[in-house]
């Protein structure tokens, strides 16, 4: 076998700490090596041409390239090898940059290490087998998880491109947090006015299958070929029969037992309800926990009034299976609940602000509902405790955000803008009212964003105070807000009628569970991780799973929408071809040696191991053995490691190759 060794200087990157010419020289004498050369940039056109020329001239069978990480240029060098007639899997990359030069400073030692590393690769490449790529089909359907603005946008974009979409939303209606907002910055247009047409479009779209009140329970498969199990929770109302007339809702005698979560618990709702009037679909849900029927079997007024016989108390959850090729995660965020935390919580909470104790200390979303024309106060500013118009409101920013000691290290990004909006909306309606904002910094980067904040301060007279609030107490219906004005360098006390806390945006509490179900990584805060913070911000590290909106990190509406469209584009890129090419680095079980303990099946994270029967000619089953479905196998090697008798081999990284590598060290 004739092997070519090509050592790249990577400019200064490798050349600075590794004496590349010496490495190339030393490798000339390795058994099997026909030619060994070094070059400044092996990945450049002349570098690649040099590889091609040597392969043809010296009739090489395999090559070793000592360069950067295979993540960077393995593809480049494989293509060069293929162009010169070598199987792409007879190309070994020795990572002389990340694994050697970048992590050492002693030139002598690093050079010695580089020689050893190349020697290992030479021994491996001698045993490498030529492999052919695997082609797998692509299901051209997309699952979108989450029906907020990001999910809606992604679903519409994919569907408008002509591909089918399954949109799953856990709440009874799509719309997400955006449907709760009163107006949106920086233009102050009504949130529902711009959102609801999109919601209706989703509902009417022939390519979108909308599944509300549903949750993803299981995801099997891999890029292009996911099988998703979705739990369609029982509404106790027949979706096909219900016309959405709302008679059951008006007649339901349970009026005060359950809080309306859409109104952020500022109002009650009946046992049978739709979250809000423009809900899509406009089909109510019966809340089992408060409905009298589920307590004692009595009542049933809704059954009597429903002209369509749509009420079905015995309805059960349904499990639906969908085949999709791509998954877009758009599960959004939650607001940090700043109550006093239990002792074992890792977050300390902000008990000193009296949230939950004082009725007029509300969070951002509650204030949105108070400001909203469709909210519990019908758009009039009334404080929750006594319904009076507040004449003085204090807004506190960064509650939980940018506070590692009690909350979260990150900036929630949207609070500076929405607090300015809140203060502005208040001043527009209560002309004699006073609005104070306690802030740490005003972060208003974005088109027309800083102008918006300036408008709040300069035109609407909102008073901004740089500093933190230490304590809020109640005295005769007034809230005594004690803080510090750090610019003036003095303590400040404001007697407010109401306090609004801009609490941190946090990941959905079940985000980590969902991430484990789908099989994508997430950070310590529960936000899903992108594959690369700069160059691959839309993809998760799992092929075929894309991220949109605030499930990845705090985001405002335009950012979420942009990300959703990007995720949709990524899904469409996937659907651009009928077959996906996969690396043939897959496991194979030896049918002779397998004892059928199926430990590999238990540990396989991709469900790629199947049970296969070995039969005699007369059909008698002799034994059951493990079989790896190469379409599902991702080549992680967990099965090869777990096999007690080492009867599973990973193509491209088989036992012999790895042992030869170690032995060469």
């Amino acid at each position: 076998m004739k092997i070519g060794v090509f050592i790249c200087h990577c400019g200064e990157n490798i050349g600075r700490t590794v004496d590349c010419p010496r490495v190339a020289k030393a490798c000339e004498w390795l058994p099997g090596v026909e030619v060994s050369i070094d070059y400044k940039y092996m990945c450049s056109d002349p570098g690649q041409n040099m590889i091609k020329k040597e392969i043809i001239d010296k009739k090489l069978d395999a090559i070793v390239v000592g360069s950067c990480s295979p993540h960077m240029h393995e593809k480049t060098f494989r293509k060069a090898a293929v162009a010169a007639g070598i199987n792409p899997f007879l190309v070994e990359i020795t990572n002389l940059r990340e694994h050697c030069s970048w992590v050492h400073d002693d030139i002598e030692a690093a050079t010695e290490k580089a020689i050893e590393m190349v020697r290992m690769s030479v021994e491996k490449v001698k045993r490498d087998q030529p492999l052919t790529t695997i082609e797998v089909p692509v299901t051209k359907r997309t699952l979108v998880i989450g029906g907020g603005i990001a999910g809606i946008q992604a679903a519409l974009d994919v569907a408008n491109a002509g591909y089918e979409v399954v949109l799953v939303e856990k709440e009874p209606s799509i719309g997400g947090h955006m449907s709760q907002l009163s107006e949106t910055f920086p233009t102050l247009d009504c949130s529902q006015c711009i959102l609801t047409p999109r919601m209706v479009e989703v509902y009417q779209h022939p390519k979108i299958k909308l599944m509300t009140f549903s949750e993803v329970e299981k995801v099997d498969g891999f890029i292009g070929n996911f099988t998703v199990t979705i739990r369609n929770k029982a509404r106790h109302i027949d979706e096909d029969k219900c016309t959405g007339c709302g008679l059951c809702i008006t007649k339901c005698p349970i009026r005060k037992k359950a809080y309306n979560s859409f109104e952020e618990n500022l109002a009650h709702r009946p046992a049978v309800y739709v979250p809000f009037p423009q809900a899509v679909p406009n089909i109510p849900v019966i809340d089992e926990t408060v409905c009298t029927h589920y307590k004692n079997g009595k009542c049933g007024i809704c059954v009597t009034v429903c002209g369509r016989e749509a009420i079905n108390f015995d309805q059960q959850d349904k499990l639906v299976t969908e085949e999709v090729g791509a998954i877009i995660m758009a599960t959004g965020y939650k607001l940090y609940n700043i109550d006093k935390k239990p002792d074992d919580s890792i977050y300390k909470g902000y008990g000193e602000y009296g949230y939950g104790k004082y009725k007029d200390v509300v969070d951002g979303l509650q204030f949105e509902r108070i400001a909203s024309a469709s909210g519990p106060t019908e758009g009039e500013f009334k404080r929750p405790s006594d319904g009076k118009e507040p004449k003085k409101i204090v807004f506190i920013q960064c509650v939980g955000s940018r506070d590692e000691s009690k909350g979260f290290s990150y900036c929630s990004k949207i609070c500076c803008m929405y607090t300015a909006k809140h203060a502005m909306l208040y001043k527009h309606k209560v002309h004699d009212g006073e609005a104070y904002v306690f802030y740490m910094d005003i972060r208003s980067g974005g088109k027309m964003y800083d102008e918006f904040v300036r408008r709040a301060i300069e035109e609407d007279g909102v008073k901004y105070i740089r500093g933190r609030v230490s304590k809020i107490t109640e005295e005769d219906g007034k809230y005594i807000v004690k803080g510090e004005d750090t610019l003036a360098g003095m303590p400040i006390t404001i007697e407010a009628d109401m306090v609004v806390l801009a609490t941190a945006m946090i990941a959905q509490p079940d985000a980590s569970t969902l991430a484990q179900t789908v099989g994508i990584p997430y950070d310590k805060h529960g936000f899903f991780n992108e594959a690369h913070p700069k160059l691959r911000p839309i993809e998760s590290t799992t092929g075929g799973v894309f991220l949109a909106g605030a499930c990845q990190s705090p985001k405002d509406i335009p950012e979420s929408v942009a990300m959703a469209s990007a995720a949709a584009a990524k899904a469409m890129v996937l659907f651009g071809s009928d077959k996906l090419e996969r690396e043939p680095v897959v496991a194979k079980v030896s049918a002779d040696l397998c004892a059928g303990c199926f430990l590999c099946k238990k540990v396989c994270p991709y469900g790629a191991v199947e049970v296969r029967e070995v039969k005699t000619r007369d059909g008698v089953v002799i034994k059951e053995i493990a079989y790896v479905n190469e379409g599902l196998c991702q080549g992680c090697g967990t099965c090869t490691a777990s096999c007690p008798s080492k009867s599973v081999e990973l193509a491209g990284f088989n036992n012999e190759e790895i042992f030869a590598q170690i032995a060469a060290l």
Binding site: C597, L599, V603, V620, P644, S645, N655, A660
Partner: protein, 294 residues
């Protein structure tokens, strides 16, 4: 005894099972395994405190699996098993080597067996594996024979030895096991006697590339014995057959018992106790302790 013989003969006659794997008496204080295929064979079946072998080992050997095929049909196998041997059968079912419906378990109420053939069975000669045993009635069976009897109370020498080894320094411990393992002649009798060593090709026999060194050097001795202990971690049911089979008297149960204790303490798991529990190796719970991760 007659009940057992009658029951076994009936199973064969009715064509329910292809054979009954059991014990036969060879002398007053010695038994040996028998694979009974006829009524006459069944008349030899016995059960007493000299039934030392763990017959579960036969359920995995391909040679005996052949037994199940009678005139083109595949019948069940019946096996007589002590309650502790049933653990072995359960472990095999847990590890997909056997299906519960393929085996008829004939078990006994057991008060312990003798240390070795030829000894009188009294309190002093109780087998070491019986000392910590808490299953005197089978956990799974299709038929149970024998009366419940009191097990003799004997001090747990193996546990005492483990505790004394734990007190040693790492160097002392190494020297102790080096001396013990240096006796090893690589006859692999431990592997042959173990019901859970069912691999078609043992990792030790894999030579291209060689994973486990098999030289007569201490390296090879450690390789084999430590690899075996690791391969049995969380799986060993503590039948002690390896130690009994060892011609060089290597105290293998020290290692195996220690691993059983570790698995129990860290994961509350003992192999072969429940058909419903997933195997320790190959199942994961977020509450699992990270301590034993290497």
């Amino acid at each position: 005894m007659d009940d057992l013989r009658k029951y076994a003969a009936e199973l064969l006659e009715k064509g329910e099972v292809a054979a009954v794997i059991g014990y036969q008496q060879v002398s007053e204080k010695r038994t040996k395994p028998i694979i009974a295929k006829t009524a006459e064979d069944c008349a030899k079946l016995v059960f007493n405190e000299y039934c030392l072998n763990n017959l579960a080992v036969y359920l995995t050997k391909a040679r005996v699996k052949e037994l199940r095929r009678v005139n083109g049909a595949v019948l069940k196998l019946a096996i007589t098993a002590k309650p502790c041997d049933v653990h072995g059968i359960v472990a095999l079912i847990q590890e997909s080597q056997l299906k519960r419906e393929d085996v008829t378990i004939i078990s006994f109420n057991c008060a312990g067996v003798v240390k070795d053939f030829g000894m009188d069975f009294n309190g002093e000669t109780l087998a070491t594996k019986c000392v910590p045993c808490d299953t005197h009635k089978p956990l799974y069976s299709d038929m149970v024979f024998g009366e419940e009897k009191e097990t003799p109370k004997v001090s747990d020498e193996v546990l005492a030895k483990i505790e004394s080894i734990e007190k040693m320094s790492a160097a002392e411990r190494f020297e102790y096991f080096k001396a013990e393992f240096d006796k090893c002649i690589k006859c692999y009798a431990c592997r042959a006697a173990c019901p859970l060593c069912y691999c078609q090709r043992c990792i030790t026999d894999k030579t291209i590339p060689r994973w486990v060194e098999s030289s007569a050097h201490s390296r090879g001795n450690f390789s084999w014995n430590v690899v075996r202990a690791f391969h049995l971690s969380g799986r060993c049911i503590g039948c002690g057959e390896c130690e009994r089979a060892c011609p060089m008297d290597i105290p293998l149960s020290l290692l195996n018992r220690k691993m059983v204790i570790e698995a129990k303490e860290a994961y509350s798991y003992i192999s072969g106790r429940s058909l419903e529990t997933p195997t320790l190796v190959g199942s994961f719970d977020v509450k699992d302790s990270d301590e034993l991760f290497m």
